[in-house]
C-alpha cells in the first residue's frame, strides 16, 4: 500500500517534470527571442550612450553661441544708439539754427516794414519783402525735422527689443543648461560613474532674466500696472498694502 502511494507520487512528480519540459520547450524560442533582442539592444544602447555624449558635449557650444548672439546684438544696438544720438544732435543743431533764422527774418521783416512806411513808393522794398519771407520753407524744415525726431524716438523705443530678446535668450540658455545637467547625469549613470558638478555648463547662469519677457506694444500690462498703482495711492502702511492685495494675489 505504501509502495503504491510512493509510486503514485513519483508518477505525479514525473508528470510535473514532463509538463515542465513541455513548457520549457515552448519557452525556449521566447527566451531565444529575448536573448536576440538583448543582443540587438546592446549596440542600440551604445549608440544612445554615444548620442547622449555627443549632445552633451555640444550643449556648452550652443549656450556660448546664444550668449555671443546676445552680446553681438547688444553691441550692434549700442552702435545704432550712437548713430541715433549723432542724428539727434544734428537735428538739435537744425532746430537751433532754424529758430535763429526765424528770429533774424522776423527782425529783417520788421525793419523792411519800417522802411516801407518811410519810403512808401519804393518798389524795391516791396520786392525785398516778398523775397525775404521764408515762412513756408521754414515750416517745411520744421515739420520734416519733427518727423525725423519722431522717427528717432520710435527707433529708440524699438531698440528695447534687444533687452527683451537678451532675456529670452538667457531663459533658453538656462533651459539648455538644465537639459545638459540631466543628460550628463544620465550618461554618468549609464557608464557607472559618480556625478560631479559641471561648472562649465553654467558659466552664463549669472545672467538674470524674466522668462516671460515679451516685446508687445499693446499696453495691456502697463494698463494693469497703472490700475494696481492707482489702488495703492494714499495707502501708507504695509498692513494696508497687504490688505489691499490679499485677495488679488490668489
Amino acid at each position: 500500500m505504501e509502495l503504491t502511494n510512493s509510486m503514485e507520487k513519483l508518477f505525479e512528480k514525473l508528470g510535473d517534470l514532463k509538463s515542465f519540459f513541455i513548457y520549457g520547450q515552448k519557452l525556449i524560442p521566447t527566451l531565444q527571442k529575448i536573448l536576440n533582442f538583448m543582443q540587438d539592444t546592446v549596440p542600440l544602447l551604445e549608440s544612445v550612450n554615444k548620442s547622449i555624449a555627443e549632445s552633451t558635449s555640444k550643449i556648452p557650444k550652443a549656450t556660448n553661441q546664444l550668449h555671443s548672439v546676445s552680446n553681438a546684438t547688444e553691441l550692434a544696438t549700442t552702435e545704432i544708439l550712437d548713430l541715433v544720438d549723432g542724428i539727434s544732435n544734428e537735428l538739435n543743431s537744425i532746430f537751433s539754427k532754424t529758430s535763429e533764422l526765424k528770429n533774424r527774418l522776423q527782425k529783417q521783416k520788421e525793419l523792411a516794414e519800417k522802411l516801407k512806411s518811410k519810403y512808401q513808393n519804393d518798389n524795391e522794398i516791396d520786392e525785398f519783402l516778398s523775397y525775404s519771407l521764408f515762412d513756408d520753407e521754414l515750416c517745411f524744415v520744421d515739420a520734416s525735422s519733427n518727423k525725423i525726431q519722431e522717427s528717432i524716438m520710435n527707433i529708440t523705443i524699438a531698440l528695447q527689443v534687444q533687452d527683451i530678446t537678451a532675456q529670452q535668450l538667457a531663459s533658453v540658455n538656462h533651459l539648455i543648461n538644465s537639459i545638459q545637467e540631466k543628460l550628463s547625469g544620465l550618461l554618468l549613470d549609464l557608464n557607472g560613474k559618480e556625478r560631479e558638478s559641471d561648472k562649465s555648463s553654467s558659466q552664463h547662469e549669472s545672467i538674470t532674466f524674466n522668462e516671460n519677457a515679451r516685446y508687445v506694444k499693446d499696453n495691456q500690462s502697463q494698463k494693469l500696472a497703472d490700475s494696481l498703482v492707482a489702488q495703492t495711492n494714499g495707502v501708507k502702511s504695509q498692513k494696508e498694502i497687504d490688505q489691499l492685495f490679499s485677495n488679488k494675489n490668489e
Binding site: E74, I157, D163, N210, S221, L228, F245
Partner: protein
Amino acid sequence: MALKFLVVDDSVTMRRIVMNSLKQIGHENFVEAADGRDALIKLNSDDSINFIITDWNMPDVSGLELVKQVRANPKTANLPVLMVTTRGMKEDIIEALNAKVNNYIVKPFTPQVLREKIEQIISTVNV
C-alpha cells in the same frame, strides 16, 4: 529742486534708452549703475541723487532687493523709486508695490510714459 536720477539696469542698451528718454523729456542730470549693488554704492556716496529708476532682473542685487534695501535705510527710505521692467504679470506688479515702489513701467515704454510716471511720483512725493 532739480532732479538727479540714478538709472539702474544691467543692460547697457536699456540704460542708454532710459537716459536718452530722460534727456528727451528735459532731464539732463543723471548717474547710472549696472546693478543693485552698484546702485547702493552710488546712493551711499552721492547724497544729491533724489530719484531712482531701476530695472528688476539684475545679477547680485536685483531691482526688487534694491528697493527693499533703499526702504530699509533711513537715509534713503523716502527716495522715489520708479521700476522699469519686462515683468508685466499681476503678481510681479503686486510684489513690487508691496516692496513700496512708487510707480511701475512695463517695457517697452515711450518717453511720454516715462514723463507721465515721473510727474505722477513728483506730485505725490516730496522730492
